[in-house]
């Protein structure tokens, strides 16, 4: 491990320290390092073309089948013949290589499923052919997304090149109010710094509000680091991290921490106690507004799920909000737990019945409508509230449809009232002034 060139004797940021633990090269912001990779995966969309590139590279075996995986989660259960053919190619390759693969009925949405099954661990470098691979920053792992050719190279070599990112330190202070969670905080942050406010950078979360966030809320925040252009969004491992990772880890791991005196390119402080339930209006994730300022926006559909907000705590919050209430007659509510661990918990704790009785459609784990795949595509002129991560033009269907990003609490409240709603309007506690 080498100290940063421009900061001799000084500590490293968390991203620098993780890269330094995986390379023989000198680590400093802007330097390009050849790094070891701990886990590398594709999904059913990026897998088949990655396999083609792997073959074109002349590669025969993946570098370590225990550290390579394909997660069939996007167009599954397959929505049409073309997606079925792609999933088949991915499945056959996984079998041939003996690499990790889970079938429909067991698999979950990749960025919920991979940490849940102990395949992303503190201190590791995880490369996925999916942009939301940055989710694993919530465990203090440098997860970052790449394209299928880069991923194929990792499968072949067990390493990749990384440009050492500058680091944006985000200090979250204060106690968030009851209906404010990771989703509100990350949309608020992107609203402050902009959708390219952390382009090429590592975001490193600090502060008492970050430390108090449950693990699932941290996943939500790291998941959306890419929506500010970041390479990764890292939480410093703490007791919450270690409790989660130690119970699930499939291999030994060594957590890595930022050093004293680490150099941050920029520091942004957020008073989390003043953040209100927040949404992102079309068509950028940084188009942040208070939910209560958007009550005039009527909606046609609500989606609760995805790699951003399909975890246990998300589904529980939505169920609490919907218990004893009904979905507005004009609204279609689609709930998709992101994994079977979440689905089965929802089954055992009665959340699925709550959704069913409220008038929601509940589907088995898949990415579903998030990126316009299936199970809830929007028609022209329709508007949805979604707990997913992107509200780009046409992301969830017709180019003239609209997506408003929100937390599970805002999404559930909006489903009940048929318009964008602040959860306090439904729960009855402290109405917005």
């Amino acid at each position: 491990m080498t100290a940063p060139k421009d900061n001799p004797g000084g500590g490293m940021t968390l991203a620098e320290a993780i890269i330094a633990s995986h390379t023989a090269d000198s680590v400093a912001p802007g330097a390009v390092c050849r790094t070891r990779v701990d886990f590398a995966f594709a999904n059913d969309i990026t897998g088949p073309p990655a396999i083609e590139e792997f073959r074109r590279m002349g590669a025969v075996r993946v570098f370590d089948p225990e550290r390579c995986a394909i997660i069939p989660d996007h167009f599954t259960p397959n929505k049409d013949i073309a997606s079925a053919e792609g999933a088949k190619r991915a499945r056959e390759f996984a079998r041939e290589q003996g690499m990790k693969y889970w079938e429909v009925g067991r698999v979950g949405v990749e960025h919920a499923f991979i940490p849940e099954t102990g395949n992303a661990l503190p201190g590791e470098i995880i490369i996925g052919a999916d942009s939301h691979t940055c989710t694993y920053g919530a465990l203090g792992a440098l997860g970052t997304g790449m394209g299928q050719t880069d991923l194929a190279a990792v499968w072949a070599l067990g390493e990749t090149w990384l440009r050492v990112p500058e680091t944006l330190r985000v200090i979250l202070r204060g106690a968030p109010s009851r209906w404010v969670g990771g989703k509100d905080l990350i949309i608020h942050l992107i609203g402050v710094i902009g959708v390219e406010g952390a382009r090429y950078m590592s975001i490193e979360f600090h502060g008492d509000a970050a430390a108090s966030l449950p693990q699932d809320d941290r996943f939500t925040m790291s998941n959306m680091a890419i929506e500010a252009g970041a390479k990764c969004g890292l939480f410093v491992p703490d007791e919450t991290t270690m409790t989660y990772a130690s119970a699930r880890g499939t291999r030994d791991f060594t957590p890595v921490y930022p050093g004293e005196g680490a150099r941050y390119a920029r520091t942004v402080e957020i008073d989390a106690s003043s953040v209100e339930p927040t949404v992102a209006l079309p068509h950028l994730p940084g188009n942040a507004r208070r939910a209560r300022d958007c009550a005039h926006l009527e909606i046609d559909q609500v989606f609760i799920g995805s790699c951003t907000n399909g975890r246990s705590r998300d589904i529980e919050i939505a169920a609490d909000m919907l218990a004893g209430r009904t979905v507005h007659e004009r609204v279609r509510l689609i709930v998709i737990p992101a994994s079977y661990e979440v689905y089965n918990e929802a089954l055992e704790r009665g959340w699925l019945r709550i959704f069913s009785e409220a008038g929601a459609a509940v589907c088995t784990p898949t990415c579903g409508p998030c990126m316009g795949g299936h199970l809830g595509i929007l028609a022209a002129g329709e508007r949805a509230v979604s707990t997913s991560n992107r509200n780009f033009v046409g992301r969830m269907g017709h180019k003239e449809s609209e997506i408003i990003l929100a937390s599970p609490a805002v999404a559930a409240a909006s489903a009940i009232l048929g318009r964008v709603a602040d959860p306090r309007e439904v729960s009855g506690d402290t109405r917005p002034s």
Binding site: P49, M57, R199, G394
Partner: protein, 173 residues
């Protein structure tokens, strides 16, 4: 068109900031990664005329953070297959940047091209990709792109990532 001397010329297709990969190639077409099948849908959700009117050699000139969003390599593949010779923008999202290099789509970083009046849709451009010079033949303005980072040039010189890995694995050719 290409002049065979590293210079290309074509018409400009001008777009704003934050052109995301969902509009470059919508997810509904991602059941294939065949360039010929992706090209007809390139940019269709923000510019329905692009795919049918773009001509070989044409240049996309865009605002900051081009290619933000999904990791889909289908995005630079679709642009390249549509006939576009290069993209010029002040900045790129990092995954798109890597993907474009890996599939051999030239991308130039140039802050001035997105300033008002610099390049308008349909302007005739002449671009020296290796040298980084950009000439707007319609209004006579000239721009210079930032040089590619050294490691990127090495990767491009190797012919892209696939030949690089082949060499590392000891494969012929």
């Amino acid at each position: 068109m290409s002049h065979g001397d590293g210079k290309i010329s074509g018409s400009a297709w001008v777009y704003g900031d934050n052109v995301d990969t969902d509009v470059i190639i919508p997810a509904r077409y991602l059941t294939t990664s065949d360039p010929a099948r992706l090209a007809p849908h390139c940019m269709e959700d923000i510019d329905a005329s692009f795919a049918s009117s773009v001509r070989p050699g044409d240049v996309i000139v865009a605002g900051a953070n081009f290619g933000c969003g999904s990791s889909r390599e289908h995005a630079p593949i679709a642009i390249k297959a549509s006939g576009v010779s290069c993209v010029i923008a002040p900045s790129y999202a990092r995954i798109f940047y890597r993907n474009a290099i890996n599939i051999g789509l030239p991308i130039l970083e140039c802050a001035e091209v997105s300033s008002p009046g610099a390049v308008s849709r349909g302007d005739a451009l002449e671009v020296d990709i290796a040298g980084g010079s950009i000439k707007n033949l319609t209004n006579g303005r000239e721009f210079t792109a930032s040089p590619a980072p050294e490691f990127m040039s090495e990767l491009l010189d190797a012919g892209g990532l696939v030949p690089y890995v082949r060499r590392r694995l000891g494969c012929a050719g």
